[in-house]
């Protein structure tokens, strides 16, 4: 009964999405306030029904109702409660429902936090979001109904894929989806602006915090996913350039460009058609990512993983959403001329340069991801594109991005003096190259890649410090604390996120240069020297879990006779699927991780043990945390709230008079 209620709620949500998509748009076109006023209640009602449907599905998982197809395939009565709840989105249908839920959440957030927007503009924004939601709910109802029954019910479920039974997977998909879907708000603002022809600084100011928040979610989601891959897959790698990862990385790249482009549009009124195109592009890539992951168009070369009907449906959805918006762009964008002019040496130039580079990088990643498909379609054979391609493209394109990134904040808007800027930054640049070489020599790993990485990282860190110092020198005379508090949150956000890139590059470079690993066979009492540590194997015991059986090894790690850590990697077999899993154990440190995973047991009773030493890998996540914090600060800047209050006050005044 509960699943039927959920299905019914989904149908109701569809009906309300239809209302939300049509009525406010027509109202805005005819300037009919009562029709425009439908936008908010329709969106909020839709949210209610989707969250209700989501609750019903979760209920079926929690109560182990295996007469529901989805629960029978993705849950088990012994699965821990937490993974019953997360199992809801560990599959195609449930993750679509999560997608819709997060879209609905964003829409409701827009209805609540954007009260100061002109009513007609608001109606169009909500209407556009309604169209997107309509498409996704229809997708579920037509091809991927999460509430399909399995009659007669299965006595026991097949359990959630053990790879997904991990704390990282509890937060990764919701964060990622909030990020993906969050770009729909920037998209809706862009489309509404194209429809009204009102692409001005106000539009950019309205979109900016939304875009930044979506970017924050996406950044955090990708980082968590990458950390999950690092410790859960048991190979010690953190980024694999596989199509699913690329699917989330492409919108991130364009989203990053969009944030910066919006800044220029707000401050200087320039780049308007470019900003609109980026807003459409970032969301299009989110949709395309969904398509790539969900249609199986990439993996289908090896196994027909998914139903082709689903692929066709998403493709049709892509054509409608992206095609219509690009058509609208082609029609309206030519009118967007003008904006502030700027000189060759100016902050605008650096931002434009980086935006173009970001767009090129995402196009290259897209190309690499789809290249096997292109070749296959053109009958030129079947190949796969691996990390070497992506690294060969990514490193040279991102190098100028990082260089320009630190140049920009030192330049003035509109026009600046090239010589003065170079003189200002020359010491930092020289110091970066010197420290890049110096550190590479110190770690005894002088390759062009290591030197480049370290130089760039030093450049970011040094130029950031110089930027901060320069900012503090303004208003000389005031106390340091008052000078610090004068700096707006948005500036801190920018500074922190850029600084985070430097930290991130240090992590990537060091892991890529001097990590080491060793696979060896060990039995109880064996010890080995590895990367300056002594590792002693203390045998393997059985350690059954709630829904798996495990062999747990104990390894003692010490250095110079001092114990450092006791690590207990496990080899698990999940009972329902009979699926073996490696559970690595880590000793996490600021400057290195020691990572141990347990391999197979050999016939003689020895075990294969895999040891990894990962220098500075935590810096990768730390860099991401800085970027996320930076984004949060930027979105929380007071001027957005002040603007909201001012408009609300003005509205109240108008009503009073």
């Amino acid at each position: 009964m509960i699943p039927e209620l959920g299905h019914f709620a989904l149908v109701m949500a569809f009906a309300l999405a239809l209302v939300q998509a049509v009525v406010p748009m027509v109202g805005a076109a005819r300037n009919n306030p009562s029709m425009m006023a439908v936008a908010r209640p329709a969106a909020q009602g839709q949210f209610f029904f989707i969250i209700f449907a989501y609750g019903c599905l979760t209920w079926a998982f929690i109560t182990s109702d295996f007469s529901l197809q989805l629960a029978a395939s993705n849950s088990h009565s012994d699965t821990p409660l937490m993974y019953k709840i997360t199992g809801v989105w560990g599959n195609h249908e449930g993750s679509l429902l999560l997608w819709s839920l997060s879209l609905s959440l964003w829409t409701v957030a827009v209805t609540v936090f954007s009260r100061h927007l002109p009513e007609a503009f608001m109606a169009r924004v909500i209407g556009v979001l309604g169209w997107v939601s309509l498409g996704f709910i229809a997708f579920m109802l037509v091809t991927s109904n999460p509430f399909d029954r399995l009659l007669p019910g299965a006595p026991e479920g097949r359990d959630l894929n053990p790879l997904l039974q991990d704390p990282g997977m509890i937060i990764h998909p919701p964060l990622l989806y909030m990020g993906y879907v969050g770009f729909s708000v920037a998209f809706a603002f862009a489309i509404a602006a194209l429809l009204t022809g009102r692409l001005d600084a106000a539009w950019a100011r309205w979109s900016r915090p939304w875009t930044t928040v979506a970017w924050v979610f996406l950044t955090a989601g990708i980082a968590v996913g990458s950390a999950w891959a690092y410790y859960e897959l048991g190979w010690g790698g953190w980024w694999f350039w596989d199509p699913v990862e690329n699917a989330s990385f492409m919108p991130w790249l364009l989203g990053t460009a969009l944030i910066h482009s919006l800044a220029v549009t707000e401050k200087r009124g320039a780049f308007r058609s470019w900003t609109v195109l980026l807003a459409i592009g970032a969301f299009s890539l989110s949709l395309l990512g969904t398509f790539l992951v969900r249609s199986g168009v990439i993996t289908s070369v090896h196994a027909f993983a998914t139903d082709p009907a689903r692929g066709m449906f998403i493709l049709a959805l892509l054509v409608v959403v992206i095609g219509v918006s690009l058509l609208l762009y082609a029609w309206r964008a030519p009118k967007l001329t003008g904006g502030g002019s700027f000189g060759l040496v100016s902050r605008e130039t650096t931002l434009l340069g980086n935006n173009v580079l970001f767009a090129v990088v995402s196009a290259s990643v897209l190309m690499g991801t789809l290249y096997p498909l292109f070749l296959d379609a053109l009958n030129l054979g079947k190949i796969s594109v691996g990390p070497p391609y992506f690294e060969a493209v990514f490193v040279p394109l991102m190098t100028p991005v990082v260089v320009l990134m630190m140049f920009g904040p030192f330049l003035r808007w509109k026009d600046d003096d090239f010589g003065a800027a170079v003189r200002k930054l020359a010491p930092a640049a020289v110091a970066s190259v010197v420290s890049g070489f110096g550190i590479a020599l110190a770690i005894d790993h002088v390759t062009w890649r290591t030197v480049l990485g370290l130089t760039l990282a030093a450049w970011v860190v040094l130029a950031s410090l110089q930027l901060l110092a320069g900012r503090l020198r303004e208003r000389a005379g005031a106390s340091v604390s008052s000078r610090l508090s004068m700096i707006p949150a948005a500036w801190w956000g920018m500074w922190l996120a850029h600084f985070g890139i430097g930290i991130f590059i240090i992590g990537v470079t060091m892991v890529g240069s001097i990590d080491s690993n060793l696979d060896l066979r060990m039995k109880d009492g064996d010890q080995t020297e590895f990367a300056g540590y002594t590792v002693r194997f203390r045998g393997v015991v059985d350690a059954p879990g709630p829904n798996y059986d495990a062999s747990r090894a104990t390894l003692e790690v010490s250095r110079d006779g001092k114990p450092i850590a006791t690590l207990q990697p496990e080899k698990r077999v999940y009972r329902a699927m009979g699926m073996p899993m490696t559970e690595a154990a880590l000793d996490i440190g600021v400057f290195r991780d020691v990572y141990v995973s347990l391999g197979e047991q050999l016939p003689e009773g020895d075990w294969i043990v895999s040891l990894h030493h990962k220098p500075f890998i935590s810096w990768i996540w730390a860099g991401c945390i800085f970027m996320v914090l930076g984004g949060i600060l930027a979105a929380a800047d007071r001027r957005y709230r002040r603007l909201a209050e001012r408009t609300a006050a003005a509205g109240a005044l108008q009503q009073a008079t």
């Binding site: 249609s295 027909f304 998914t306």
Partner: protein, 197 residues
């Protein structure tokens, strides 16, 4: 409308063309060099009685289907009801080739697993799957390491081979068999082969 503003749309439509192409046409139409050639001989353990084997020659004199399947294969679940219905109508015997049941499962790490442990796991999983979804097969055989699959040029699972009385492969269907494929392609070909002698 200036032309340069149409560029993004044009690029997008080109991309859609490729995606549509990739989605619909190509994985399903791989020409097989084996058509009209004798089917590669094999002798494999039976799923229902692993102690006994089944050889290709045992089907000589019959027109039959060899269906490649595995419990990890999502598209097999899609075609399965079609096969169950076909078996119920008794038009043609179907032999199942259970292909790489354990090591084909991308989520599963079978390296280093002992062969008998792998076989045991494969039998358990495959039987469970047939219990859950119905068993259209006259019998299924276990291709644990996928060698027979390689001999047949298996490219993706599921695949279905139509084999004639002389043991020659007459038709190969890649991907899930749909009711439409069955009605308009497979059954006419089967009838034709049955009439032929």
């Amino acid at each position: 409308m200036k032309a340069k503003f149409l560029v993004p749309l044009a690029l997008f439509l080109l991309l859609v063309g490729f995606l549509g192409f990739g989605l619909s046409l190509n994985p399903r139409e791989v020409p097989s060099p084996l058509i009209d050639k004798p089917a590669p001989a094999f002798t494999l353990a039976r799923l229902d009685q692993p102690a006994q084997t089944f050889a290709l020659d045992e089907m000589r004199g019959q027109v039959w289907l060899l269906n490649v399947w595995a419990s990890w294969c999502v598209a097999c679940r899609q075609e399965h009801p079609v096969l169950v219905e076909l078996a119920r109508r008794g038009i043609v015997p179907i032999v199942g080739l259970n292909y790489k049941e354990v090591r084909g499962d991308g989520g599963l790490d079978a390296r280093g697993m002992a062969l008998d442990a792998e076989t045991g796991l494969a039998i358990e999983r495959a039987r469970g799957w047939l219990r859950a979804h119905g068993d259209p097969y006259q019998l299924s055989v276990l291709d644990i390491d996928g060698r027979v699959g390689i001999d047949f040029g298996v490219y993706g699972v599921p695949e279905t081979f139509l084999i004639d009385r002389e043991g020659r492969i007459r038709y190969k269907h890649i991907g899930p068999v749909t009711p439409d494929n069955l009605q308009n392609v497979l059954i006419p070909k089967i009838e034709e082969l049955k009439r032929a002698s």
